[in-house]
């Protein structure tokens, strides 16, 4: 249990992706079965343990210590799981020879009935040290919150077994904790596990962005063009009655879209874009957000924001794997297939006819629908392959929006950047003439070179007016201030931000040392983009 607890503690404080991967693959390497597989399942969210409510945890502590002292402690720490793990009194009479393993903890928690759950939990806490207690409480209260996605955990498995992450993703949904067969294969001890499970995820094909010099080398006749829709990429799989909606990273999101899942009446694997509204009236990305990251959806929300899929590709049909066929042929099959689908829930992503690049460029710059974010180029003869191969597919996005904003706050970075002020909050002007004020509209921490980072860092240190822990407030008024040109993909309404807007994917595109702060943009410029 301690090894798992230590892993959680290190992951939550390690900012870099490579650091996390190293910690995870070392864990898989040094911990044996079944503990490592259970640890993996806990991280990917595939471990089923009956949840314990915070109130029950408090009740357990109340039986064991003075409530006033607990109150002081909780006030200071601020996190219930952490407070309980620290103050839990170790019983003097029954000090165990060794602490329980993760497998023993999971076994006890899973086999506990509802009524004796609290007693089982208390015994486990009695027999564990502080770090292990914290991990146990996190397991039973649900949600580790350690900043590791299932996708990252799979990448760590790939690193550990020198395998391709696509292979692991394809296998994943047919496997179950503690994944002993998966580890045996990754360690080269057994052949790859056979996948008997139905409706598995097929690793997604991705595109490279078009670079300046690319198009000159490409023949327009070799490529089909298609609008790039701004929803979320989704894979609809239905096989032998098992239906799944996978995100690009192989998470099954069917639970959040029961309306869509109900309309699946075929045996096939489709690649497409999940959007809301209806095929004839496509909703915006902020409408779509109403339905994302929810475990369950109320009927009201479902009615207001119905989901549908705009189909891009057909990967499998009636047991036949089509991925090896050229795009031209898959597209023909898809067109025939799409005709038979429920028309309020599925439609076909139209191709964009063109003969020369400048013609397509014109179409890309003025797309017919606001939720189009550019065009996709797909070679007519390309097979559907996992990952992001260079050549067969390209994405050619609309140019980003830009706005000139003024630097307001700077926060120290992490890891390599821990001595630099590298995370910037910026604002634009609002208020009447003569009474202008900056209102923050976003935060960005990339888009600049190392040399520019040094310059901004120096500017921040030289122009600090206030410090709050790791954050510095920077001089910013009509006469003084650093203007940053911010590029962003879109704008949503936000009730959470004072400015009323939230940027999508903001980054710093240029430093405008030359521009006076007073000439930065006003909030009205952004508001105009909302409608």
């Amino acid at each position: 249990m301690n090894r798992f607890a230590e892993l959680l503690d290190r992951l939550v404080l390690t900012p870099s992706r490579n650091g996390k991967l190293k910690l995870l693959s070392d864990y898989f390497c040094t911990v044996e079965d079944p503990d490592r597989g259970l640890g993996l399942a806990a991280i990917t969210g595939d471990l089923n343990i009956a949840a314990v409510k915070p109130a029950m945890l408090r009740a357990l502590v109340a039986e064991r210590m003075d409530p006033v002292l607990f109150g002081y402690s909780y006030d200071y720490v601020g996190d219930l799981a952490e407070t309980v793990s620290l103050v839990w009194p170790t019983p003097q009479d029954s000090i165990p020879n060794r602490e329980p393993t993760l497998a023993e903890v999971v076994e006890k928690l899973q086999s506990a009935s509802r009524s004796d759950g609290p007693k089982v939990l208390a015994r486990l806490l009695d027999n564990s040290g502080i770090a292990a207690r914290f991990a146990i409480i996190k397991l039973v209260t649900g949600g580790l919150r350690i900043g590791v996605s299932a996708r990252l955990a799979k990448q760590a498995l790939a690193d550990f077994g020198k395998a391709d992450v696509a292979e692991i993703e394809e296998l994943w949904h047919g496997l179950a904790p503690p994944y002993s067969d998966l580890f045996a294969w990754l360690e080269g001890k057994t052949p790859k596990p056979e996948n008997a499970a139905k409706a598995l995820f097929r690793p997604v094909m991705l595109a490279h962005p078009v670079e300046d010099s690319d198009l000159a080398k490409l023949d327009p006749a070799d490529y089909a063009a298609e609008w790039k829709w701004d929803g979320i990429r989704v894979q609809v799989v239905s096989e032998g009655g098992v239906k799944r909606l996978y995100s690009r990273t192989s998470d099954n999101v069917a639970g959040a879209f029961p309306d869509l899942a109900d309309a699946v009446d075929f045996d096939a694997t489709l690649d497409g874009e999940l959007l809301v509204g209806s095929p004839s009236a496509t909703g915006t990305f902020s409408d779509l957000q109403q339905r994302l990251n929810r475990k369950s959806v109320s009927p009201k929300i479902r009615e207001r924001y119905p989901a549908f899929v705009r189909c891009y590709d057909l990967l499998q049909h009636d047991g036949e794997d089509l991925r090896g066929l050229p795009f031209r042929e898959r597209r023909t099959r898809l067109e025939a297939f799409a005709e038979k689908l429920e028309p309020t829930r599925f439609d076909l992503s139209p191709l964009v006819a063109f003969t020369a690049w400048p013609e397509l460029e014109a179409l890309r710059s003025a797309p017919p629908h606001p939720i189009i974010e550019g065009v996709m180029l797909k070679r007519w003869d390309s097979a559907y392959v996992a990952g992001r191969p260079k050549g067969p597919w390209f994405k050619w996005k609309r140019d980003p929006h830009t706005v000139d904003a003024v630097l307001m706050y700077a926060q120290r970075g992490h890891g390599k950047r821990s001595s630099f002020y590298s995370d910037y909050t910026f604002g634009v002007w609002s208020g009447p003439e003569g009474g202008e004020e900056l209102v923050p509209v976003g935060k960005a921490y990339f888009g600049f070179t190392d040399e520019e980072l040094k310059q901004i860092d120096k500017y921040v240190r030289d122009n600090t007016i206030e410090r709050f822990g790791p954050v510095r407030s920077v001089r910013a008024d009509r006469k003084n201030g650093l203007v940053l040109e911010i590029a962003f993909e879109g704008l949503n309404r936000s009730t959470r931000h004072k400015s009323g807007v939230a940027m999508r994917f903001p980054r710093i595109s240029r430093l405008r040392w030359d521009k006076p702060a007073a000439e930065a943009d006003r909030i009205e410029t952004l508001q105009a983009l909302l409608d």
Binding site: L13, Y72, Y76, V77, G415, S418
Partner: protein, 336 residues
């Protein structure tokens, strides 16, 4: 004679009216008795100072030879008479030279413990329990959430991380007096014998520790010799915590920031400071040590100086021991 007439709080620090002296005075006074060399307890400018030899040496290193009018070294366990009040220094286990001060007059004994810890520490003499009527205790970590783990476990995590990330430098933030040298010593005891690189602010005090027979191994300045960032890959660099947020830290390759402090027990504290590898190593007593020590002294009354007084006072009430906070000002309760 009542205890509060023997020692009482005053704006300049804890004052003894019959002996006419102060303990750990925060302003210049005529006669100061000093428990240990941390700057909030040991200040310069007093007319006369009584402290252990090592505390006097440390003060001279920090403030210059003329830090006080006159100085007198107190030998541990030997009683000195000051205006009829008996004063005895006993080891406190906090940092090198640290002492508790027992003050005895007309049959009442009060022990002012300064800062103290009970966990073994190879860089200073262990705490000695002194039975007394009134025990004056600190409460820096006076909450039941503070339970310090064995320090070897923390150092083992540091050494494991160095094996896992050999391409990165490990920067360990540690206070210049006591903590830094204890960390060095623990690293040596764990079998690590490569040079340890140190920030300039640590050099004098570390040399002094070595001169007192505490072997810290080979220490080298953390300056750039050949100019390559690879110079410190896989190395341990120790410096004061403030240095790592500064431009000084940029010379190191993709550093892992570590911080050796009792505060690292709280995850949010580590997160706020951007600490990647918290090392829970403290020179103060944790909750269990504070409560065990109060019991061990047999004191019928406890006075709590700086830190989280309310929880410790509450605990004493529950145990049937009279307790009150002293509300002394001028001591940092954040340092560790």
């Amino acid at each position: 004679m009542r205890a509060k007439d023997l020692l009482c709080p005053s704006p300049a620090g804890l004052y003894c009216p019959p002996g006419d002296f102060y303990i750990d005075a925060v302003r210049p006074v005529k006669r100061a008795l000093i428990t240990h060399g941390h700057s909030d307890h040991a200040r310069s400018g007093h007319q006369a100072v009584l402290a252990t030899r090592q505390t006097l040496d440390i003060m001279a290193l920090r403030y210059g030879e003329d830090f006080a009018g006159t100085t007198q070294a107190a030998a541990l366990g030997e009683t000195t008479d000051i205006n009829g009040v008996s004063v005895t220094f006993h080891p406190a286990g906090h940092v090198l030279g640290s002492a508790q001060i027992a003050v005895e007059y007309e049959g009442i004994r009060i022990v002012a413990s300064g800062d103290y810890k009970r966990m073994p520490d190879a860089t200073c003499q262990p705490f000695e329990v002194v039975p007394c009527d009134v025990f004056i205790t600190e409460a820096t970590f006076g909450l039941p959430v503070f339970r310090h783990p064995p320090d070897q476990e923390e150092i083992a995590r540091l050494l494991k991380s160095i094996e896992q990330f050999p391409e990165r430098a490990h920067l360990v933030g540690a206070y210049a007096l006591g903590k830094a040298q204890r960390v060095m010593r623990l690293i040596r005891d764990a079998g690590y014998d490569m040079p340890i690189y140190i920030h300039g602010a640590l050099a004098k005090l570390s040399d002094y520790y070595q001169s007192q027979g505490i072997d810290l191994g080979v220490l080298e300045p953390a300056t750039m010799e050949s100019g390559g960032k690879g110079d410190f890959a896989g190395a341990i660099v120790i410096g004061p915590p403030s240095a790592f947020a500064d431009r000084w830290a940029r010379r190191f390759p993709d550093p892992v920031s570590c911080f050796a402090s009792g505060w690292m027990r709280i995850r949010q504290r580590a997160k706020q400071r951007g600490v990647e590898l918290p090392l829970i190593i403290s020179d103060h007593s944790d909750w269990d040590e504070l409560t065990a020590t109060i019991h061990a002294t047999g004191a019928r009354e406890v006075w709590v100086t700086h830190g989280r007084e309310e929880a410790l006072v509450r605990w004493c009430e529950l145990e049937g021991i009279a307790a009150k906070p002293l509300h002394l000002v001028g001591y940092e309760d954040e340092g560790d």
